[in-house]
Symmetry: C2
Subunit: 543 residues, 2 copies
């Protein structure tokens, strides 16, 4: 990777701010129709609307813990205009976008508000900030798009001099485009749409489209092992990262001289998924592909979740592999159908799969023909003509819908896991059962929807959406359900997260997943790279 | 993975021993014809034949350092019949199969002979041995097939009570075959042919065919990030490993609940490539595929290495991707042609590519047609009809040829590296130039042959074969050349090893490749898992 300040290009416009206390762009806010409100009310007992959080100007702002003298010294490293300890900046860097995060804002809970927001310009400024914060025991929260749904932005900062959010938005350059190797060298603060715009103008795409696409940053996607909806074709984000530069309190790591190497353990894989606890990714080389000539998305209806699972498995094991491959279970399909029903279409049984192809016309045609034959073999038939395109149009709308559901008084959240194919149906049942039991036991029986969201030759991931009536303390209500479900996932052999990461929310189960010795190994690395423990304390590993 | 002693199947026959002081099965030994001897003599000045090492019974055997009382206690853990401190066992576990290793045997150098060879039956016995060795400061060399070519089996054992070779040959079960997930759970001591026989009988293959295939073990392939000749289709070995059980002096690690996860750093990737320095792999789950219906191997002639490199890159970036894809440079092509010439065929210019397809008839036909069109576009034309099959027949013969060349008085060795496509031709030239210069400066101008051995969308590996006249001390001669070449590789941006690993031979350059902080991070992990430092001391990292 190129060391230095050069940039091939930068985003032409400043990126949009995430809404305060809700997801996304307020222009995209969703109003729930009576056809959704009625079953929420009548079926789930959702009756108590929940007000949005207090406005930014009225939200209770805790006093800053960090001494002004330290704020000044930090500001001296990045320039005064890039060190902001004002109300808006501090509150906009308070936690992430999980449902508990949003509910706590609705409850005017300001715990964990950082004292200052620092926006460094480059690797050297990050390094200097980490050095100072390490010397002065200031906790540092590396901040990308602010889209964490696992408590990845809420450090355990007791005993520190204060908390600085390290917002990487200014490190948003497309540094280099290596068209021969098909690699883009980028800054960590570039968002998904910014990266696609800069690369698209040059004929390339990364192809990373998680549900958080509008706000996700590439550094954040790397640090949390994000996976996009087209991972079958483009790969998970961690598979796309070929090289990394990382700033730590004790120095710099530069990793990745070749796509693959036998020179020891793959240290890139130690930084990917480290969630800002071992260092700050300041530059990354990411695989790119030519912008596809064609994108075709189809719906397929499979007779059952079991039959559909087999059909997806066959495709990913024997090919041809579509670019996007998802399968809703019966419950999720029924809810999707209910929505389609509003549009005047007749509901039908079975399970809906979304199958997308992106590439050259010839490649799309070939894979589409082969996959169609395999899907038909598995009992599938083409769904209504618009099903694939409708999914494509709505694929980033889930989080907007969540805000509207929360407004209505529902508790709605998602969670996800993964395992090998032979255990997938067992995991599917066990996870759903745990959610049903844990929420019903509290008096709020849920609707539990699930889809296979990502596929591999050896296994797949399951993505759940849960909706029930919010009780008086929905944060506690959800924490109980989540804990019971995490136990069930662990017992059924699943991983505690396939693409959301660990954060604080998954930590107890993560520590059991990798075992005491795995935790000890990571702690040893952390002690070496971050001896003062300033980097995202309490995230991933207990303090 | 299944914990316990169950086995679905075990190899039906004991595995063959590697020849003493040479490679492989003596039945496959090569005699050099005058058509090879003449140019060696006349072109390279190879005139002093080198005798084979002293016979096993006459080789100088150093006294064992390990106190008999400790040997007895170790034997008590595995059974007396599985703890062998006899001459043959000890010498057969002396170092690996690099050219310096073989030359040192020829010079009757017994330095580093282990004191005892332990053959544990299962994970628990490995764990018990590591505990005792840790308490008594006995260095442990995990030993798979004994095929290391990077000094990976020669610990720096000064200050230890002695050295035990931990031979994993008894841990050779096919534990489980998960046909749904297409995973085989295997013991680490299973060799390539043993694994293929057990799986082939059930309709599956791993598809891992490194040049050391006849003797490589699966545990060793994992610990060293081996890559087989069909990696384009089947994947590198580290990409095939989905789960691992590892014994360390401080406990067990069980890693891998899904193909991919966002639950923290991928700790599997910390163990893969750790070369026995962090733990001993006692079980692994490896991806398998159905035995292909068809295997087709073809030769293609490209106008130049540059044109061929572009053609290979196009195939791996845009598809269709063959199962095997290799490209010899002009020098290697000319030497291969010289051999083909003996068979009555006319030499021709350009560069020879080997392109193989394995799969169903339909899949092979489709990929073959598409790849042929792309190769023709790149200026390629089909080589003589037998070229691909001839390569396939001879692909494991290189190391046998090496013994014959050493006998004749040549110095012959291989090395390899990898980088991104945009740097590949520069790396190709720089590495070859360094070899030429460093050997010519010592008075032994070499022949340097190279091929692209493994390809990825973002880059590829280069595999070099070097032949020159052996000087009076060929070990020193080679070390000098290797050091100069390693410097050139590092300067040109290559990795110090794409699939041979680090061992002791690559250590100084490896440490520079990952940097001081990378070394510190690995040392911290080692201190945690192996506090007494008994596991392969001096391998990968300096003591």
């Amino acid at each position: 990777m190129v060391v230095g300040a050069g940039a091939l290009a930068r985003p032409s416009e400043p990126r949009p701010e995430l809404a305060w206390g809700a997801w996304g762009d307020p222009a995209n806010a969703v109003d729930l129709p009576e056809s959704i409100l009625a079953p929420l009310r009548d079926g789930l007992g959702v009756t108590r609307p929940s007000p949005r959080p207090p406005a930014l100007a009225e939200f209770p702002l805790p006093p800053a813990a960090l001494r002004p003298e330290l704020v000044d010294r930090l500001a001296g490293l990045v320039g005064t205009e890039h060190a902001d300890s004002g109300r808006a900046a501090r509150l906009r860097h308070l936690r992430g976008k999980s449902t508990p995060d949003l509910l706590r804002l609705r409850a005017a809970d300001a715990a964990g508000t950082p004292d200052v927001v620092l926006c460094p310009a480059d690797h050297d400024e990050v390094a200097a900030l980490l050095e100072l914060c390490s010397a002065e025991r200031i906790a540092v929260v590396p901040f990308g798009g602010g889209t964490s749904v696992v408590g990845g932005l809420e450090p355990e900062a007791a005993g520190f001099a204060g908390v600085a959010a390290l917002d990487l938005r200014r490190m948003d350059a497309l540094r280099e485009l290596d068209e021969v190797s098909r690699l883009a060298v980028v800054g960590p603060g570039l968002t998904g749409p910014q990266a696609e715009a800069l690369l698209g103008a040059r004929g390339y795409t990364i192809g990373h489209f998680p549900q958080s696409y509008e706000y996700v940053t590439l550094g954040g996607a790397a640090a949390t092992r994000s996976s996009g909806q087209s991972s079958a074709g483009y790969g998970r984000f961690d598979d796309l990262v070929m090289a990394l530069r990382v700033a730590t309190p004790t120095g710099m790591l530069e990793l990745g001289r070749a796509p693959k190497s036998a020179a020891g353990p793959d240290l890139r894989q130690l930084m990917l998924g480290s969630e800002g606890t071992l260092g700050v990714i300041t530059e990354l080389a990411v695989r790119v592909r030519p912008v596809p000539d064609q994108r075709v998305y189809e719906g397929w209806r499979l007779p059952s979740f079991s039959a559909g699972t087999q059909a997806l498995r066959r495709l990913v094991q024997d090919g041809p592999v579509p670019t996007t491959l998802r399968l809703s279970d019966e419950a999720e399909t029924a809810v999707d159908l209910a929505r389609a029903g509003e549009l005047g279409q007749a509901p039908a049984g079975g399970c809906l799969a979304i199958v997308g192809y992106e590439g050259t016309h010839e490649d799309v045609a070939l894979r589409r023909e082969g996959a169609a034959a395999a899907l038909r073999d598995g009992g599938g038939e083409r769904a209504e003509a618009d099903a694939g395109e409708a999914w494509l149009r709505g694929r980033f709308r889930g989080p907007y819908l969540r805000d509207a559901l929360l407004d209505a008084g529902a508790l709605v959240e998602t969670l996800e896991t993964a395992t090998f194919w032979s255990s997938l149906e067992r995991l599917h049942g066990a996870t759903a059962a745990a959610l049903h039991e844990a929420l019903s036991a509290q008096g709020s029986p849920p609707v539990v929807l699930c889809h296979i969201s990502h596929v591999y030759p050896a296994g797949a991931s399951l993505y759940y959406t849960v909706v029930c009536a919010a009780l008086e303390d929905p944060v506690v209500q959800w924490r109980r359900a989540k804990a019971a479900t995490a136990e069930a996932i662990l017992a059924a052999g699943g991983t505690i997260s396939h693409h959301h990461a660990v954060g604080r929310d998954h930590r107890p189960w993560y520590e059991r997943e990798i075992g005491g010795l795995g935790v000890a190994a990571l702690r040893a690395v952390k002690a070496e790279l971050d001896p003062a423990g300033i980097l995202n304390p309490g995230i991933l590993l207990a303090r």
